[in-house]
Structure formats: structure tokens, C-alpha cells
Symmetry: C2
Subunit: 345 residues, 2 copies
DNA sequence: ATGAAAGCGCTAACAT
DNA sequence: ATGTTAGCGCTTTCAT
């Protein structure tokens, strides 16, 4: 598929016009065209006009690929590795990255891989082989040690949302523990006392979120009831739904649940089947969360801030910043709706 | 920003290893390395092993950019122009495009531009100058005539979701009129008789959707009450909300509303303020639409089908298909939830 | 089975 | 103010 030859149905494929074509048409040298195109050096306005005319006439457009071959000529593309864009969190991060990159005159090569370390590595190598000027990684892989060489070679890498695993590199992550603690405290303040937590697959920064939950619970209640902690295997909405049903049907059920990711919140919501007597706080905002029968209180993962700060950090490196790797932490924002308050029956 | 020099904090930037470096280390010629890397021609297994070892040792990776310079060597990247990825429809299309491209061994350069013809043209030219093998456009621009040359030069272009404006090109669009008609008929079948329609900015394929609505209404009711047709200017959720409020507060208000886009549905939902006595059908599916107090019936715009078929069409062209431009139409899928059925009070 | 030479489109260095 | 030359990393003839 799409690997075929240059078989062109019998037609000869026309060549794209080059600087040389423009030069010939305008009766100047190649270099003069280059100067006009790049607005560099001094050129007689008459010559410039002639060149411009030739460019317009044959529809010349600079070949970025050829330009990029020259040593020292940095690429003007960033590489972004991210999960499924149908996930609104990823969509938000990608949107912010693309906007920030464009604002700085950069394009974005995007590779989308979900939860598959091998595919992730492949994708990253694909990005590198395209000579991107820098890499933004929202990646779950366990070991990115192989990137150390790359960074040494001059391609800066910034990890987004998940810490740089297996090497020292810039990272922009969420204050997961503090956020989860704040969310749990919100539930506590709402008068809930049997607060369960559904933890998505440990590959996410859910360990930190669990820690924040534990801190809040033990500070307020003295001890943590381990039976209220449910650890998921993959973390899908379906798995979360099943787990939530089991939890709610238990002999001594919780009166509130902290959901560690957007998918978990979704599954939990479905498991509720219309019940409104359970307190809920979820990590990650959800579209339409404010329109639900009981609007859901969440910790927003601030995808826009994450993406924007990630690109800014990358730009600093591209501009030559060689200070030690930076660790940026973004505070999740508690968006109080009503699911974390006691329900008046 | 990020335009700076190669100032490397005093460190000399190490050069990335090239085929030449590998060749020298392995004691073979450059071409032999090339053959090994591309698995082409016959090479003694001993030589191959030596080359592989050298590659592993210095961490060589083929430079896709240089490779792409050779004439006839098609790029292995597709260019995608699309709106804000925070919009779930765009997110879904992008996810499908990326997945399909990857499956075919292609990468994706993504440019995101919303509702700005000038920026759109700029972005498209940026994509072209990167020598992409093909272009997927979800674009609102009025005239893409400037692309005709490009297509002639051998870069195939496929328009997604919106028709190719100003030129003959492949397109994969929705059967908007049929879909809107079906949605309106669903409302009619639910017993609603005063069905309003809120039409988003005309740049979308909303004209067709309005036509479908008109057809359904006049077929069933004989004539269309023009006061029930509201035309928005931009089509934002806020604008839709305001328009919906006005509509519902009118002396002779509608008993149901057809929303022509996801944003319009969103605004309409907000304007309802909890009211459940209004029938609703919206174009574009919404995440969590099934969890709302009154689950919303929608016409799904099938983003996955759109993206997948778009890439397939593009691959056919890349493989040399020179038949006349194709027009693919995807049938929106009516997802019946309950908002289109009469409410039992 | 392997190698040498040419050249893709562009820009940098060095003329003029 | 403009032109010449060389070469980026690779693949493609065309040898051997």
C-alpha cells in the first residue's frame, strides 16, 4: 500500500520548479534567487523584482527538505509523541503544542502511540530520523535511556505529563500528589467519610495520586481502610465501571469515590446508573462534566499549560540553554462543581 | 524565540553519525552500508554483520531528510490540515488519520488552523514545502485553486469533511442533507411539530443540513415556518446558547430543536437550564452525551471513517491512481438516545 | 558481491 | 550587488 513505484498512469511526472529554474528564467544566478527568497544581503530592486516575477510565474516554493540538509541549518519541525487524540486530555495537549510551535515558526510532526513501549520507541526513532529540532514526549515507556545519545547529539527532549524514565531530561509534569490530596480533602470537607479510590494502571502517575489520597485520609481519619483502595489493571473505562459496581455492591460500601483518571471517572459515572448519593472527585476534566445530572468536580490536568510550557522549555534548549535538566510542576486546578458536596435528599 | 544561533554554551556540537562514518568503521564502502540499511542487493553475511555492528556501535540512524532529496524518492510523510484538536470531531479525525498513516508506514505533519483562510493557505504551503507525499485537508477556505498546480506536480490532495472549494479534487464528505433529514424525521416521528433549527456559520456544510431539515419539514408538515430557522454568525457555543434562549423565550416557542453542529448542541443544552421538555437532535456526537439528564440523540459524523477513508484515497493516489477525482460520501449515523422522543411528564 | 562517481536543491564561504 | 564553488547525506547509475 502506497509503497508502489512511480507508475504514473503513463504520464510523465512533472518536476517541481527549483531555484535553478527561477534563476534561468530571471537571468540571474542561483545565489541571487536564494538571496531574494531569504531576504538576505543587498540586491538591486530591479533584480529582486525580476526574480519575484519569475517565482510567481513558475510557482516556485522553497524546498524545506533541501534547505535542512545544510549543516547548521536547524530543522523547523518539532516532534510530538502522544497517545490517542480522542482522549480529550491528549487532544488538549496536542492543540496547545501545535499552537505554541506555530507561534514560534515551527511545524509539528506527530506520532500517536498508546501504551506500547516498543511502538513508542519506534515512533520516537521515526521522529528523530526526520531530523526534528526537538522532541516532546507524552510517553509511558519504562526506559528512555536510548535517548541520552540523541540529546548529547543536540536534539533536546522534553517529557510531558509523565516523568523522564531512565534518563535525566527536562520534564513538565503535574503535581499529582498535591492535586489528589486536595481532591480528597474536598470530599472530606464535604462530610464524606468512607472515601474509596479507584487507581488506574500504575504506568500513569497514579502512584503519586494514590499517595496524595493516603496522606489526606490518614491526616483526617487517622488510618486508611485498604479495602477502599481498588487497583485497576489497564485502567479502561470498562474496567473501572466493573470495579465500581463491585465496590458499590459491597457490604460496607463507600459514600464517595476518588477517580484517578478521566477514563476511571467515566466508568464510575456509568456504574452509578443514575444514583446521586455518592460523592465524586475525578482527576482530569471531562467535556460536558458540568452538564451531567450531578456536575462532576474534578482536578483539571491543565493540558494547555502543559503543552505551552513544554514547547517553551524546548525552545529554550533549541536556543542553546545548557543548564541542567529542569523539572517543572504544574498545579492541577480543582474545579468545584457539585459532586463533591453532600447531597440534600 | 528558538531562532537563535548554534551557541552551545561553549560545547562543540557533536555531529550525528552518517553512513560514511559507519562505512569507515566497518571498513567497507558507503554504498555497502546503504545496501545493508535498505536490505537491498546481495551482500555477504559477514560484511552485513560487520556493518550492523558498526551501526549499533555508533548509534547510526538513517537521515530521512537526506534520503528524501533524491529525485523519485517519495517522502513518507502525509500532511494534515485540521482545526482545533480540542474539538472532539477533529480529534477523532486526526486520530484516525494518524493511525491509518502509521499502518501504511507514513508519518504525519500536522498543521492546525481554525477558520482563517489566510492562515490556512500559509499552513498548506508550509506542508507542501516540506515535500509531503500527500495532503489531507479539513479546511474552510473558499478557494483552493492555488493547489491545482501542486496536484499537477504530483502531490495528491484529499479534502475531508468539507468539499474541495475552487478546484477538482478528491473529497470525502458527509451526506449532510440526508443526515439532517433523517434527524429531523426522527423528531417528527417523536411527535414534535414545532421543530426549530439553529444553523451554525455557513462556512460549514450547514447549508446542506438546513436543506435536509427543510425537506423533512415540508414533506411532513407542508410548509416551513421561517421564524423557526435561526442562522448564527460564527457558530460558537456561546452564540448558540444566546440564540437558543431567545428562541425558547419567544411567544410561540418551538417544542424541539435541531442543532447543526456539536458546538450548537452544547450551547442549546446550556440554554435549556435543566428543562427536559424540548426535543433535541444534534449533528456531531458529543462525549458523555449518553450520560446527560436527557441523553442526546445525535447524528454521528463518523470521524474515524472519514479519516480512514481519506488516507486510503490518498494512498491510492500516491500509488499512481490517475482516475478522475472521486467524491466519497459517508452516511452520518443516527444514534438514538432519548432526547428525540416525547417526554412523559 | 562490492565500489566510485555523480547529483538531488539548497546555503555558506569566498570571490568579483 | 552578484556570481562560483563546494558540499550536506543519501541513492542511483555504472563499473568491477
Amino acid at each position: 500500500m502506497a509503497g508502489g513505484g512511480v507508475t504514473d498512469g503513463g504520464m510523465t511526472r512533472v518536476a517541481r520548479p527549483t531555484m535553478n529554474d527561477v534563476a534561468r528564467l530571471a537571468g540571474v544566478s542561483l545565489k541571487t534567487v536564494s538571496r531574494v527568497v531569504n531576504g538576505e544581503g543587498y540586491i538591486a530592486s530591479a533584480t529582486a523584482a525580476r526574480v519575484e516575477a519569475a517565482i510567481a510565474q513558475i510557482g516556485y516554493r522553497r524546498n524545506e527538505i533541501a534547505r535542512r540538509m545544510r549543516p547548521g541549518q536547524e530543522s523547523t519541525d518539532l516532534g510530538l509523541l502522544i497517545g490517542d487524540l480522542r482522549n480529550p486530555f491528549f487532544g488538549g495537549v496536542a492543540a496547545a503544542v501545535i499552537a505554541a510551535a506555530h507561534a514560534g515558526g515551527y511545524g509539528v510532526m506527530i506520532a500517536s502511540v498508546d501504551e506500547d513501549p516498543t511502538a513508542e520507541r519506534h515512533a520516537v526513532e521515526g521522529l528523530i530520523s526526520r531530523q526534528v529540532a526537538g522532541l516532546l514526549l507524552v510517553a509511558g515507556g519504562e526506559d528512555f535511556g536510548f535517548l541520552a545519545d540523541e540529546i548529547g547529539l543536540g536534539t533536546p527532549v522534553v517529557f510531558l505529563d509523565r516523568p523522564a524514565a531512565g534518563l535525566e531530561a527536562d520534564e513538565v509534569v503535574l503535581a499529582n500528589e498535591a492535586g489528589a490530596r486536595e481532591g480528597t480533602e474536598h470530599l472530606l470537607a464535604g462530610g464524606f467519610t468512607r472515601i474509596a479510590i479507584i487507581v488506574a494502571a500504575s504506568r500513569h502517575s497514579t502512584g503519586e495520586r494514590l499517595r496524595g489520597y493516603r496522606n489526606a485520609i490518614s491526616a483526617a481519619l487517622g488510618e486508611v481502610d485498604e479495602s477502599l483502595i481498588v487497583q485497576l489493571d489497564k485502567g479502561s473505562a470498562e474496567e473501572a465501571e466493573a470495579a465500581a459496581r463491585t465496590l458499590l455492591a459491597a457490604p460496607n460500601p463507600p459514600d464517595a469515590v476518588f477517580a484517578t483518571t478521566g477514563f476511571v471517572t467515566l466508568g464510575l459515572l456509568r456504574a452509578l446508573d443514575g444514583r446521586t448519593d455518592i460523592g465524586i472527585v475525578g482527576f482530569d476534566d471531562l467535556p460536558l462534566a458540568d452538564m451531567l445530572p450531578v456536575p462532576v468536580t474534578v482536578l483539571s490536568s491543565e493540558p494547555t499549560e502543559l503543552g505551552t510550557l513544554g514547547v517553551r522549555t524546548l525552545f529554550d534548549r533549541i536556543d542553546g540553554d545548557t543548564t541542567p535538566p529542569r523539572h517543572h510542576e504544574i498545579q492541577p486546578r480543582l474545579v468545584v462543581r457539585s459532586s463533591g458536596r453532600p447531597r440534600s435528599p
